[in-house]
Amino acid sequence: MTSATAIPGRSAPALSVSLVDVERSFAGATSKDPPRRVLRDVSLEITPGEIVALIGASGSGKSTLLRQVGGLDVPDRGSVRIDGSALTGIDQRSAIAFQEPRLLPWRSIEANVDLGLPKGTPRGERRDRVAELLELVQLTDAASLRPRQVSGGMAQRASLARALARGPGVLLLDEPFGALDALTRLTMQDLLLDIHAAEPATILFVTHDVEEALYLADRVVLLGVESGYASNSGAVIRSVITVPGTRPRDRGDSSLAHLRAELLEGLGVSTHHPVHTF
């Protein structure tokens, strides 16, 4: 699998990410409602080049947390640092692929990916890089199509390519493979690992898929409301699991079975009997 999929070296070196006591609340639906706290006391140190998976139930604040790291949203309390320096607004050291593809409808897929390239990339180089990235995410044939002409999964891959184009120090991916079929999903996972192996960016990604988290990540962070607390008290980091072994991992690794069960349990999925071994 580790064919020549790496993007030639233009990306920034991987950077550390540090979250300290991050808290974020949103105003209630009406001015009478109390504010709803989404995140509480979230502290996390991510070392340069690490891959961290963020899992948690729907609405537990994963996207919100990712937005804090990208500087798209500001915590009410606590601090976020990239490479040791605190964020001041949107941070160009990171690049984000949103949960929705967010492609500009009036641009071709190609031109949408081009938006991700760093400022000042020379014109000729832009074209080559975009072609290369489209090749990687298997969208070469769709290069000149408009977003409304491609499927949800294709749009999502275009959005991934756009984030990769930036070659960022920190890569933030919100459910990057959520809309993909099983085969494309596995291929894209390996693609991400290949790119990471060639140019190790720090990656923080959200997923609902426990398998995916265990296959890709160095650590898996489980976000959720502490048991015994009201749901609007805010999600905390319930547990951080260090995934043993080195990548590329065996997808059917039975030694990960207990982690799988633990994570599913954490997500509220009851695993009545121990996960069968493969």
């Binding site: 593809p101 491609v150 499927s151 749009a155 999502q156 459910e175 959520g178 999903r185 426990v210 996960v275």
Partner: protein, 296 residues
Amino acid sequence: MAENAQKHDLAADSTTESAASLVQYVSGYGYSAAGTALSQRRRGAIHSKRWVIALGFVVPVLLLGGWQFISATGLVPAYRLPSPTSVWLAGIDLAARGQLGPYVGISVQRVLIGFVAGAGIGLVIGSLVGLSRVASAFLVPTIGAFRAVPSLAWVPLLILYLGINEDSKVTLIAIGALFPVYTTVAGALRHVDPHLVELGRAYGLGRLQLLRQVQLPAVVPSIVSGLRLALAQSWLFLVAAELIAASMGLGFLLSDSANNGRLDRTFLAIVLLAVLGKTTDALIGLLEMHLLKRWT
């Protein structure tokens, strides 16, 4: 070859594994292929486009026939309703005197200059108000008050300050064209998909780049419909300006012919206004089609 085999393996893997992953395939779709069905239906429509145009001529032809019938049978006397033929002849006559061309020319010129100036100013003010909260807070109440003044109320002032000349007429038309564009553009800019604006910011677009690459393209459809309204307004205000103070143009032809009892010329002016208005509107319609194809 090797790659194929690889894919095969992966597929086999995924079937054995999918049992363990309970929470998969949850995601947000932005755009989907749902649009394809729509464009297919549109292709069907294009096929029958000639029919649509042909059908559009049915009512005018019927009206013309009815008109001819009424005047030919003397149902309405000629001094109240000139026949289509006499209107046509009045046109030939005016053309022979060398008046028709210049009249039409000057009216079209006034409309175009006034429209372009007004729409341009409307676009700038609309963008300013739509994009900047500060500008909006500063300007919106005042602009609202100006808009509330029925535009014809400016005529005496325009004549006083600018005189009875091209400037005052073109200015009046520009005032008429300004507000529709301002209103639609400001409103549309305020409602550009915040997701896309955030995307632009996340990828480091500055204010001007954001405007050029995200916000303006997003409001192209609104701008065009604003322009269309503005053009209709421009013709309205042209006639107002020329009725009040002019020695040339279709509005002048209207008032002059009515004063001299030349009803055939009055009808001629009205028909010309209808044809010219519809023609310019159709041109904008073409522009709209082109722009919508490019920008949506």
